[in-house]
C-alpha cells in the first residue's frame, strides 16, 4: 500500500491543482471561460502527450480524433433526443465518441504505425483533412453543413437544464477528463508500458532486441491518446457548443496548439503538458487583448528555440535540476 502511495504521489498535487483551478473559476467573476479554456488546453496537452511525448512520434493529424469525438456526441444527441433517456443520452454520446475515435485510430494506426519516424508523420499529415473531406464528399452526417442540435438538446433535457449542461457541466466534465488523463499518464509512466515507450522513443532497434514489441506499445499509446481526444471533443466541442461543423473540428490549428503545449511544458512527463497548457492558455488569453491573432506567430519561433535549445521542455529542465533531491518524487 505504501508503495502505491509513493508511486502515485505526484498525482496528488496535480489533482489538487485542478481542483484549485475549478474553485478559482467558480468564485471569480467572469473568469469561467478562461478557466475552461485552460482546462481544455491541459486536457488536450495531456492527451497528445500520451502519444507524442511518450513515443516521440508526431501525429500531425491529431485533431481528427477530437473531431470524430465531437461527431460521436453530436450524432447521439441529434438522433435520439426524444427517447426519454435522460443523462444516459450523454453517456451514449460519450461512448460513441470514444468508440469512433478508437476506430479511427485503429484504421490510421494499422497503416501509419508500421512506418518509422518521418514516414509516420507523412502518413498522418492528411488524416484530419482526409476525414473532413470524406464527411463532406460523401455527405455523411449532413456533409459540409454539419449538425446543429441545440433544439434536440432542449428536447432531451428541457431548455433550462440544457443550457446549464452546455454552459457549465460540459466544462466541469472537462476537469474530470483532465484528471483522468493525468492518472492515465502516471499509470503508463509507472508501468511496463511507460518503460517500453521510453525504450521505443530512445532507440527503437535496441528496444526490439531487448524483447519489446514496439508496434504493440505504439498502438496502445496511440489508442489511449486518441480516445482521450475523442472524449474531449465530445464534451468541449459538441456538448458545449451544440453544433459541429467540419472545417472547425478538423482544423490543423488545434494540432499546432497541442504540439506547442507539449513541447513547451515537457514531452513525456506528467506535469509537462499541464504546465504547457497553463502557459499557452494564459498567454493566448492575455495576448488577445494587446495583439489578437498573434499567438501562433509568437509561439512558433519559440517552438524552434525549444527544439534546438532545450527539447526536454520546462518540466524536463526542472527534472534535471531536482535530481537527487526530495523534489524528484513529485516533479515527474
Amino acid at each position: 500500500m505504501n508503495k502505491t502511495l509513493t508511486k502515485y504521489l505526484p498525482l496528488f498535487p496535480v489533482l489538487a491543482g485542478y481542483f484549485l483551478l475549478f474553485l478559482v473559476g467558480e468564485n471569480l467573476e467572469g473568469k469561467w471561460q478562461l478557466i475552461a479554456m485552460l482546462a481544455f488546453y491541459c486536457a488536450v496537452g495531456q492527451a497528445f502527450n500520451l502519444f507524442m511525448g511518450m513515443t516521440g512520434y508526431v501525429d500531425f493529424g491529431y485533431v481528427a480524433f477530437l473531431g470524430v469525438g465531437t461527431y460521436g456526441m453530436a450524432i447521439a444527441i441529434s438522433s435520439w433526443p426524444d427517447k426519454g433517456l435522460g443523462l444516459w443520452l450523454l453517456v451514449i454520446g460519450l461512448l460513441m465518441a470514444i468508440g469512433m475515435a478508437t476506430l479511427l485510430s485503429l484504421a490510421v494506426g494499422a497503416v501509419a504505425l508500421r512506418l518509422r519516424g518521418a514516414y509516420f508523420a507523412i502518413a498522418t499529415i492528411g488524416v484530419n483533412e482526409g476525414f473532413r473531406y470524406l464527411i463532406e464528399g460523401a455527405r455523411l452526417w449532413n456533409g459540409s453543413e454539419g449538425i446543429i442540435f441545440t433544439a434536440q438538446l432542449n428536447t432531451a433535457f428541457g431548455r433550462e437544464f440544457a443550457n446549464v449542461l452546455a454552459t457549465y457541466w460540459a466544462d466541469v466534465a472537462l476537469f474530470f477528463i483532465a484528471a483522468f488523463a493525468a492518472f492515465l499518464t502516471l499509470f503508463f509512466l509507472r508501468s511496463k508500458v511507460g518503460y517500453a515507450l521510453t525504450a521505443v522513443r530512445t532507440d527503437e532497434d535496441a528496444a526490439k532486441v531487448i524483447g519489446i514489441n514496439v508496434t504493440k506499445f505504439k498502438i496502445i499509446a496511440f489508442i489511449a491518446s486518441a480516445s482521450l481526444a475523442g472524449m474531449i471533443g465530445a464534451v468541449s466541442w459538441a456538448l458545449k457548443l451544440t453544433y459541429v461543423f467540419p472545417p472547425d473540428v478538423f482544423a490543423i490549428h488545434y494540432t499546432v496548439e497541442a504540439i506547442i503545449i507539449v513541447l513547451l511544458g515537457g514531452a513525456g512527463t506528467l506535469l509537462g503538458p499541464i504546465v504547457g497548457g497553463l502557459i499557452y492558455g494564459l498567454s493566448k488569453y492575455y495576448l488577445a487583448v494587446i495583439l489578437p491573432g498573434f499567438q501562433l506567430l509568437i509561439f512558433a519561433p519559440i517552438i524552434i528555440m525549444i527544439i534546438v535549445l532545450f527539447p526536454e521542455g520546462t518540466v524536463g529542465v526542472l527534472k534535471k535540476k531536482v535530481q537527487g533531491t526530495a523534489w524528484e518524487k513529485i516533479i515527474v
Binding site: 508523420a121 507523412i122 517552438i303
Partner: protein, 295 residues
C-alpha cells in the same frame, strides 16, 4: 460527352501535374540529401504565390519575372533556415526537424496573414487561349507547364554536368567518402536545402499561373499533402521521380474529379481531396519508398 470531358480534364491534369511535380522536386531534394522532411513545404509555395500576386498587382510586373525572383527569395529563406537551426537538428531525432520545419510553415502562414489578411485574392493575367483537342488552354497555363519542364531539365543538367552538382550527388551517395575527397559537406547540405526551398517558392509562381485565384495564407496546407502523395508516388528522395509522380497525380486528380462528378449525392471536389489521402496511405502501406524506381 463524358469521354470528351474526361479527356479534356486529363489534359488539364497532365499540365497541372507537371507543375505539381516541379513543386515537389524541392521536397524530394531536401529529403534525399539531408533526410529532412520539410513539413512546411506548402507554406513556401504559398509564399511564392503571394510574391507573384504582389509583384503583379502592386508593381505591375510580369509573373515570369517573378519566377527567378521567387527562386532567389526561396534560396535566401533556405540559407536562413539552414544556418539558424536545420544544421543543428540534423544529428538529432527525426522528430526535431519535423517539428522545426512545421513551425517555419506556421511562421510563414501567420506572417503573410498579418501582412495581407485572410481574404482570397487573385490576379488577372489575360493572354488569351489556345485550342487543343478536347479542351481550351489559356496561354498562362501553357507557360506554367513549360516553365516546370524547363526547371526540371535545368536541374537535371546542373546535377549531371556542373562541378557543384556532382559534388552534391557524391554527398548523397556517401557523405563520409565525399568528405574525404575534400567536399565541404556542410556547404553541400546548405546548398541543397536552399535549392530545395528556392525551387519550392518558385513553383508557387507557376502554380498561380495555372490557378490565379484563391490565393490566401492558408492555401499551403493542401499542397503539403499533395506534395507528400506525389513524393511518395515517385520515390521520396528522387527529384525526377517527383516530377513524374506529379504528372501521375495530376492525371488521377482530374480524372477522378470527372468520375466523381457523375455520382449522385456527393461533392466531387471534396471526394477528390479525400482520394489523395487514401492514395497516400495505400502507397505507404505497399511500398513506402515509392512506386517508381528512379535513380
Amino acid at each position: 460527352m463524358v469521354y470528351e470531358q474526361l479527356m479534356g480534364n486529363l489534359i488539364q491534369g497532365l499540365i497541372l501535374g507537371g507543375i505539381y511535380g516541379m513543386a515537389t522536386m524541392g521536397l524530394s531534394l531536401i529529403f534525399g540529401v539531408l533526410k529532412v522532411v520539410n513539413v512546411g513545404h506548402g507554406q513556401f509555395i504559398m509564399v511564392g504565390a503571394f510574391i507573384t500576386l504582389w509583384m503583379f498587382n502592386s508593381l505591375g510586373v510580369n509573373p515570369v519575372i517573378a519566377i527567378p525572383f521567387s527562386f532567389l527569395v526561396g534560396m535566401l529563406l533556405g540559407f536562413l533556415c539552414y544556418y539558424s537551426f536545420v544544421k543543428r537538428l540534423l544529428k538529432g531525432p527525426e522528430l526535431a526537424s519535423l517539428l522545426a520545419t512545421f513551425s517555419v510553415g506556421i511562421i510563414l502562414e501567420e506572417t503573410i496573414r498579418l501582412i495581407f489578411g485572410s481574404e482570397f485574392r487573385g490576379y488577372n493575367w489575360a493572354l488569351g487561349k489556345i485550342r487543343l483537342p478536347f479542351t481550351v488552354l489559356p496561354y498562362t497555363k501553357l507557360i506554367a507547364f513549360s516553365g516546370s519542364i524547363l526547371v526540371a531539365v535545368l536541374l537535371f543538367l546542373w546535377f549531371k554536368k556542373t562541378r557543384a552538382g556532382t559534388a552534391l550527388r557524391s554527398v548523397v551517395e556517401d557523405s563520409l567518402g565525399a568528405r574525404v575527397c575534400g567536399v565541404n559537406v556542410d556547404w553541400q547540405y546548405a546548398l541543397s536545402f536552399s535549392l530545395g526551398i528556392g525551387l519550392t517558392v518558385a513553383s508557387g509562381v507557376l502554380l498561380t499561373m495555372f490557378i490565379p485565384v484563391g490565393i490566401n495564407p492558408n492555401m499551403g496546407g493542401q499542397y503539403t499533402l499533395k506534395a507528400f502523395v506525389i513524393a511518395v508516388l515517385g520515390g521520396l528522395s528522387s527529384p525526377y521521380g517527383a516530377f513524374f509522380g506529379g504528372i501521375v497525380f495530376g492525371l488521377i486528380e482530374n480524372g477522378s474529379y470527372t468520375l466523381f462528378a457523375l455520382l449522385p449525392n456527393v461533392e466531387p471536389f471534396a471526394l477528390t481531396r479525400f482520394l489523395s489521402f487514401v492514395i497516400l496511405l495505400v502507397i505507404l502501406l505497399i511500398r513506402p519508398t515509392g512506386l517508381i524506381r528512379t535513380k
